[in-house]
Subunit: 394 residues, 2 copies
Amino acid sequence: MLANIPRLQALMKRDNVDAVIATCPENVTYLSGFWAMSQWVRRGPQAYVLFPRESEQPCIIANSGILDLVPDQQPWITEIRRYGYFQTDVDTSAKLDESDRLQQELFRSKAYKDSVDALVAAVKEKGLERATLGIDEMGITPQCMDQLRSALPDAKFLRSFSLFERVRSVKTSGEIEILRNAARATERAIDAAMAGAAEGVTEREMLREFNACLARNDTAPVVGCIGFGARSAMSNVQPSDRKLKRADLIRFDVGGRHRHYRSDMSRGASLGEPSAKVSKYYRAVEKGVLRGYDIIKPGLKVSDLFKEVVATVQREGIPHFKRSHVGHGIGVDGYDPPNIAESSAEVLEEDVVICVETPYYELGFAGLQVEDMIRVTKDGAESLMTLPTALRIL
Amino acid sequence: MLANIPRLQALMKRDNVDAVIATCPENVTYLSGFWAMSQWVRRGPQAYVLFPRESEQPCIIANSGILDLVPDQQPWITEIRRYGYFQTDVDTSAKLDESDRLQQELFRSKAYKDSVDALVAAVKEKGLERATLGIDEMGITPQCMDQLRSALPDAKFLRSFSLFERVRSVKTSGEIEILRNAARATERAIDAAMAGAAEGVTEREMLREFNACLARNDTAPVVGCIGFGARSAMSNVQPSDRKLKRADLIRFDVGGRHRHYRSDMSRGASLGEPSAKVSKYYRAVEKGVLRGYDIIKPGLKVSDLFKEVVATVQREGIPHFKRSHVGHGIGVDGYDPPNIAESSAEVLEEDVVICVETPYYELGFAGLQVEDMIRVTKDGAESLMTLPTALRIL
């Protein structure tokens, strides 16, 4: 199981929430281990997880059209309610394997009219119709939310997306292992793309190589900002036909999705010797991230991490360096808490996984960025990275 | 411009909508041509397009953190309102190119406090504070919607996601060209993956090859259902370590995203000679799709298309064939209207692009499926496909 259930239960108790309902793809998959394909690839399809705080069993609500994914994925939550019609036939002459037998059983279960109908039935059967229900407001459509409110007039609804985020910020060992693999797959793709660097190669060609290598490492592309020269100063630079020239700075700010978990990292390179300004500024942003490793540990105020990282970049070569944040948590979503900003009231906890980043964008010059994925350990920091942070000379 | 503006204006007039507000990534990109990265890769980040039906100029609302994408993408809507803080420096010694100059100009414009603050200012400046506003309910968070309602107490809000869907269902020539390229890229990836078929190759290895080829054709993977043998009967089969054996049926139901537009198609193959049942059943589902080409034209009732396709599969070899639908529209979303179902009240129009599909799933046996992307022409059907529909013998 990937979800941090004890933390979920503790936060539900703190907020007097009797049950939570996950509705957006990240929270449904996080809480149940069930990857409900349709909601991941489009906005609109509804899948939920109802999780009562105590005693009652949790339950997955899914469209009949994705029931086949249940036996194949074997989520830890085994109570499934389905809705809608989907036609699947059975070869009565064949001996079905266990997965197909379970699928057949699921198709024999009652099909509710729609997602809310199924959810309401589950809420009622668990005696929660007068309870305080924390509903993740980011995946349920407004129409379904209206329907849910009128079907459960005595329930109290609280928006709970932020509660889910708070639970997710402290990772379980299974999640850390996946995040490590996600980071490794992405590093391999950076290596593969940079290996192809040569005069005349375009940003787009480098992205193709990057994404193809991600694919070979079972990772879907999500963020592919790769820019050359002055284009690297565009914070979200989308690869173009701009050709690589000698002494160009190359900025990678990239990430993918591996077994549902995100990677996010940044590295820079130069085709041949960089200018003195690039060297100096890159070293400054690099030292900012490295300073993070010195001070990260449980109990550190996130605002202090922000201040210390920014001050380091300023001291080490970019006196005018300013940022809204110098990183963020990462997990099943690309931005989990904490947001590493001056205004943060949070402190680091063990097994929080964060990206620490110090991008500097200067129009007409370049964008320089180092971003590492870092786990907060019992008494310090563990890098999930293996690539050196230094500017790579190609 | 990709959006069908005359159709949008006509439907707004029909529904007495004075302005629409796009909020979900598909509709923001569709309406403006602006790809607001943050909302495409996560749920939560807010970007909007305000489009008044008459006279007043449309406007994009975007976070300061994605302003760099505006000059690089050059959306046809040029009025931009930004919100939030983002730090970008400028090399005052450099001569900025036009894109950087425009970016600098955007960063000098007023930064609103948040997305709703910026949207409300635009609504008021266009004299729409007492108007009927059609708001796409699928991208705005409930919190932002609450904030919008209280800031505009005299406006009338209508949920307009379905209006956007209806507009999008009839494609412009630019969209058809992109859909054609999306189809071609996906076909190439099917060819590449099938070319690697051999005894012992796993489903996962075939997916890697498929996704890597998509990457080389500037297409992001979205749906990658590839199953061998009895596993192909799982409708959403996710590739596993199952090895390919002689006489295995291979089912591909796959699609990607190319320049923001979706592809979705299905083909089958067999490693060596298929069984008589596979041949017969595959031929039946293939004939169902081919029957679509015979009858598709403007004015055809979608319910008649459904009935005729289903009846053909039944007559040609699967007498018990049943389906909830035999296809759907496709565009910037994977499921645009119409849904090709018996209950549909719609008729086909010229330049609707649909997927026609006849999947048959039989547990313990196999899943057989042909799915083509088809454009409704002035007087018939045009295939966006080049791959033969027949079962491929590998």
